[in-house]
Each structure stands twice: as structure tokens, then as C-alpha cells.
Symmetry: C2
Subunit: 425 residues, 2 copies
Amino acid sequence: MSLDTGTLTRELCVRQDDADPLAGFATEFELPTGVIYLDGNSLGAKPRMAAARAHAVVEDEWGTGLIRSWNDADWFSAPGRLGDLLSPLIGGGAGETVVTDTTSLNLFKALAAALRIQGGKDPARRVIVSERDNCPTDLYIAQGMVEFLDRGYELRVVEDLGAPGTWDSVLTEDVAVVMLSHVNYRTGAMWDLAGVTGRVHQAGGLVLWDLAHSAGAVPVDLTAADADFAVGCTYKYLNGGPGSPAFIWVSRRHQDTFWQPLSGWWGHARPFAMEDTYEPATGIGRFLCGTQPVVSLALVECGLEIARRADMTAVRRKSLALSDLFLQLVEQRCAGHPLTLVTPREHDRRGSHVSFRHPHGFAVMAALIERGVIGDYREPEVLRFGLTPLYLSHVEVWDAVEALRDILDTGAWDQPRFRERGTVT
Amino acid sequence: MSLDTGTLTRELCVRQDDADPLAGFATEFELPTGVIYLDGNSLGAKPRMAAARAHAVVEDEWGTGLIRSWNDADWFSAPGRLGDLLSPLIGGGAGETVVTDTTSLNLFKALAAALRIQGGKDPARRVIVSERDNCPTDLYIAQGMVEFLDRGYELRVVEDLGAPGTWDSVLTEDVAVVMLSHVNYRTGAMWDLAGVTGRVHQAGGLVLWDLAHSAGAVPVDLTAADADFAVGCTYKYLNGGPGSPAFIWVSRRHQDTFWQPLSGWWGHARPFAMEDTYEPATGIGRFLCGTQPVVSLALVECGLEIARRADMTAVRRKSLALSDLFLQLVEQRCAGHPLTLVTPREHDRRGSHVSFRHPHGFAVMAALIERGVIGDYREPEVLRFGLTPLYLSHVEVWDAVEALRDILDTGAWDQPRFRERGTVT
């Protein structure tokens, strides 16, 4: 809900927390005291059960079970089992998702598949369309593929796909696949997944969605959208742990139509027959490649186990309430400071994080982090704040904005130690 | 040393253990009681320190440090830091190795690099040579690449590269790269790494070595061999944990000469500048791709920390002593049973595991495992026994062969429950 900006008080936030149907989920996570965590869009918080799961997989499955755990602890089926747990969160069915490798690599597999499918129907379709503001690694992967194929494929990076009339001019007859982030990593802007998919299909193209900032954060229904391919990560809103393996979803109508080139043993039809010729497994299994990092993979289950119990409609409602609260508080209580909202105000165009530009964004974020209010920074000048409904309260949003206000009012950010840039922020 | 087969007794094994300079390393690992573990060539044992490391990375780095751990716990530099720890074990220098992704994926990167380097010099060199008995996933990856490139590249699988005169006929002017496993996954046969590398170089080819069954098991000197590319895994003899990330080594003379196609953000020259165009990092960093599984990656350090303290000459000496003992005991005490040695008898052609064929190999291995003697099985009919010098004793080898003898003498393997095949053995 949108709040009347005249009435915002900390007491009101307390009352909203009291009435929050998701409030109980916060106890499923462990966050350090003194921290308000607004970076679950970069690395999700640790589920309480993760410690026990890590102990079990290291001590019991590895230490005691040893090689026998491939069967006894069912390591071999983990990518599919976790994929089936995750799939409903993105509107997918069983057997349509696997948790494996990294988002970048899964993007490579899906792009390769899309190009091959199109090549089989119309070899003139050799263009991958994306937008300048897409997540850089997605563009890099497409660049690497086009350059490696070296036979007339092209990545066409559009400046602003949202500008009026752009779609019509972009969807030419040479377009094979459109590759987009559903929610933009920087701005938090969200595409109409079904609308874009339908539009691209009508023009003969396929769509590859990057759901890194969507899965577990906003409602996604790939089946209803009649989508083609989707990839995403499990370490943001799905709380799978640092760098936990990513996921790939492929529509059943595409699964058995091609051979993706990262064709390792785990994607073979008979992986233990040790045959010398690759034959892809039927179904989503052919998107697997090499041996997966079992410990990191096992931890993904803890976050999914929580997410699957949360009603996504309630999650979305709270996400919007928190981001409304946050942006209204910033505009009200930090008025007069040079903050510019980057994220769309319209609910149906907003994901689950809010970004503001500030000419000294890096130093302001460094000062905030020192006070325990952890958001992050993205070039250029963007302060990024993730609103994670499962473990964030309205009062924390209030307190975070108060910390920001104080830092801006007192100029506390203007110190050399906050201007010094590390490798990551 | 080779033992006089007339004198083999359990007491002799005890005396050999007493004199073993590596005996102390066994206490660095934790193995379940009642188990003799002969499968460290498939999944290495758990280092004692792994539990504490797992706890620290999950509880402190993820749980408390959260996103700050990218800097504070130095997650970002982990692939290079672990690579520098690993590199001396394969005769590599600092800045030549990274621990990342899977062996299959690293093979893809190295193959792509090799093809590109050759293509820049002589476009007619489009053939990848390998052998039928190479690890299947290596062949699958090469098949996937050739098929994806779809412009005249070829995987030429040779039946037996070791047969007299074969090398001369194989190394034709269209060969771009020879891709071999240094130690064969099934037979334990070992190539002369420097000899083959020199021979292939002389014929204008490059060599890509798969060191999955070599690293930490046998002496490897990539620098002395003037090698080009090598990949391998950390979860076998390096005891990194189930599915722990793999490694890739690239000679400095090749590092900056190409753009490998799995070009994700972690391999970018300025990964946090969020630029929209890929520019590869200089050096080995460009072989990185997407976000790594931090928990599994962190555990790799435990195994490397032990391996780097072990003298590789002593490791090799004990490995050969154990495998000599094992094969002599089997031939002496299991004589009369249809066991055929698959592994070369010559020391300089043997890795660190020993394989025997038996017409009922699967059931025999299942019966052994039920008695706590854990080896593994590989098609066709091959019983595979890994001899890991850091945590295996001579007495355990004696006891393992006694269990095998008893199972064969009594026919205990001939039961329905041992014939039933699971997904992995």
C-alpha cells in the first residue's frame, strides 16, 4: 500500500510490523546484531538451518559416507531435486529446472540452445538482442559466444528498449533471441514478462529471461507467459549461500530439441556407462555439465525450504510496502540532499530493490555500512537498497533511513576512509 | 620398492608402516572406523580441519560478514589464491593457475583457447586428437565444442595412441591440439608428460593435459615439460571435498593471446566497473567466468594446505610401494580367481591406482564395500583401487586384499543384492 507521507512515524512502522503476516519468517534467518541488512538482493541472509546442513554434508555425507554418498545421500539427483523445489517459485513445473553451475554458464547454455533452435528453422535469424543496461555478465557471455562462433552471429545492444516505438524497430526478421533481465540489477525496473514474451514470439523470436533479481522476490509465472528459457541465481533472494549454484529453466517444448555445447558427463543419457560418445539425457538433465560443488549445492535447499512456505502474493505485497515506505521516507526525511530516485515509482514496473543516485554515492554507502546499515553501491553513483520481505521489518526501514538522513545532514560521509574504493562494495 | 613375493606377511606390512615417513599425515584426515578407503582417486578423504573451515565460512563469513566478506574474507581473490597454493604441486608458478568451475568447463576453456591460438597461426589446423580410453567427459566436451562451432573442426579419437608407430601417423599437419589424461581414469596407465608434449610440439600441435588423476598423486612438472594447458580436479587426491571446484593452468606464453568464450564478469579486466563490453583480465584471471560456490571453494584450502607440506618424492615412493604391494598380494593370495591386471606393471607407466578386471566385477566390488573395503567399479568389469599415500597404510592394503580373497574364495559376492546396480558405484 502507498502511505500518506504526512503520517509516517516510527510508531506506525511498529504497528505495521505487528500486523505483518510474514513477520514470523525473520526467525528462520540469523543476522548479526546491530545490522540492518538491505543487501539481500546481492547476497541473501543465512537461514538458521544452514549451519546444521553444512555440518551434515561435511561430517556425515563426506566424512563418513565418502564416495557412497553419491547414492546414499542422493548427491546425483540434487540438481534436479533442488530444481523441482525451485520451479514453482518461477511458475515452472517439475522436470523443467535444474540447479547447477553459474548464471553466466547457464546463460551460455540457453543462448546456445536458442540460437540452434532458430538456426534449424531460419538460418537468417542470427541476432541476439539485449539492452545496454542489462547485467554486464549477460552481455559479456553473449559477446564471448558470438565471437567464438565467428560466423555472422551478432549481439545487438539497444540503448533503451523501453523508449516509445523501440520494440517495433528492434524486432526485425534477423532476431533469433531477446535476452533480458526481468528486474534490472541496478535500477530495480521490472519488465512485463508475459507482455514482452508475447511480443517477441509474435515477431518470430525467442526470449531468454535472467531472473537473478526476480526469483523469490517478485511473482514470476514462466508457464503463463509461455516463456522459452530462464536462468537465475540462488544466492540473492533465495538465500542459498555465497556463490551457490545457479538455476536454468527450459520450456518442455524446447528441452529435447538441441545439444547444448557444454556437454559434460552429468548431462549424458547414461552417465555411468562411460561411453565414448555424448548422447544427451532427455529432458532438463541435458543442461547439466560437470561435477557440482556438493557442499554449496546442499545449502541451497535451506533457502528454498523457507521460500516454498512463503505465500508469494504476501511476499510481493510486503515488498512493495517496504519499498514504498523506503522511498517515501528518503524523499521526505532526506529532502534537500541531492538524491535522485532511479527506480520506477509504478508498482508494476518495480522489483524488490530501490536505488538512488547521489554524487558521492560511494562514500555515502561506505558511511552507512560502517553504521551497520548494509546496502551496496553500483556504478555510476548508485546507492542500492534491497527490500527482502522474509527478514526485513518496517521499523528497520525507518531506522535505515534515519541513519542515511543523519549521515547526509552531518556530512559524516565526507571522510577520506569512505572515499577509498575496495574491490567490491 | 618391489617386494619379494615369497616374504609378504601382515607383520612385514606393520614394519613398513612403522618406517613410513608419511605415516603422520593420516592423523590430518578423518575416516570412519571399520573402513579401508581405496577410493581417494574418486573422492578424497575429509581433512580434519574441514569441519572448522566449513563452520567459519558458513557462520562467520556468510552469516556475520554477509556481503562484506567479498572484501573482508577475500572471497574475490580465492580462485587465484588457491591456484597459487596448488600450482607448485603440478610444477606451475604463481599466477598460472586458478581454482574455479568444473574440470569439464575448464577443459572447454582450454580447448577453445588452443583452437584459437592455432587458428591464428595456421587455419588448417582444426583437429583435436584424443584417445578412445580418455575420460568420457573430456571426449563429450570436445564433441560439444566441435559440433557447436560447426565449421570444419574435428575430434579425432584414436583407438590406442600407445600402439607402436601410432604417434607418427597421428601427428599430421591438421592437428591443432592433443587432449590427453596424464593418468588414465580406468587403467591407471600414465603418459610420459614431457615426452608426449615435446613430440606434439615438434609436430606443430599444442597439448592439453587432464591431471584429474595426477595432481597430488604423482609428480607433475608442467614447466619442465614446457606444457601448454592443463586442467584437473581438486576432489580426488587433493581432498577438496565432494565436487569441489576444479583448476586450470595455462602457460604464461598463452595466457594473454586469446579470449576464451566463457567470458563472465569474474574474468573481466575491471569486474566492478560494470562496463557493457567484455575486456579480458590480463593473465590467468581471464579463465574465470561467473560467481564461484564460495563454501565449496573455501574447503579446497584444507586439502591443499596438507598436500603442500608433503614431499612429493616421498608421496610417489609410497604410492608405488602401496600399489606394488597391492598387486603382488592380489596375484599371490587371490591366485586361481579370474582377475586380470589392467594397470601397467612398469613404475614409470603407473599412476596411483590399480585396476583388475573380473567377470563379476560389479558384484565383487559391492561385496567388498559392504565389508568396509571401499574401492569402486568402472565399466567394463573393472575393479578400481586407489592408493593414497597420505592416509593409507601398508596394513590396510593387506587387510583389503584379505577381504577380497575371502569374498572370492567363499563366493560371497554371488548374491542378488550385490548384482543390483545403483546409479553410481
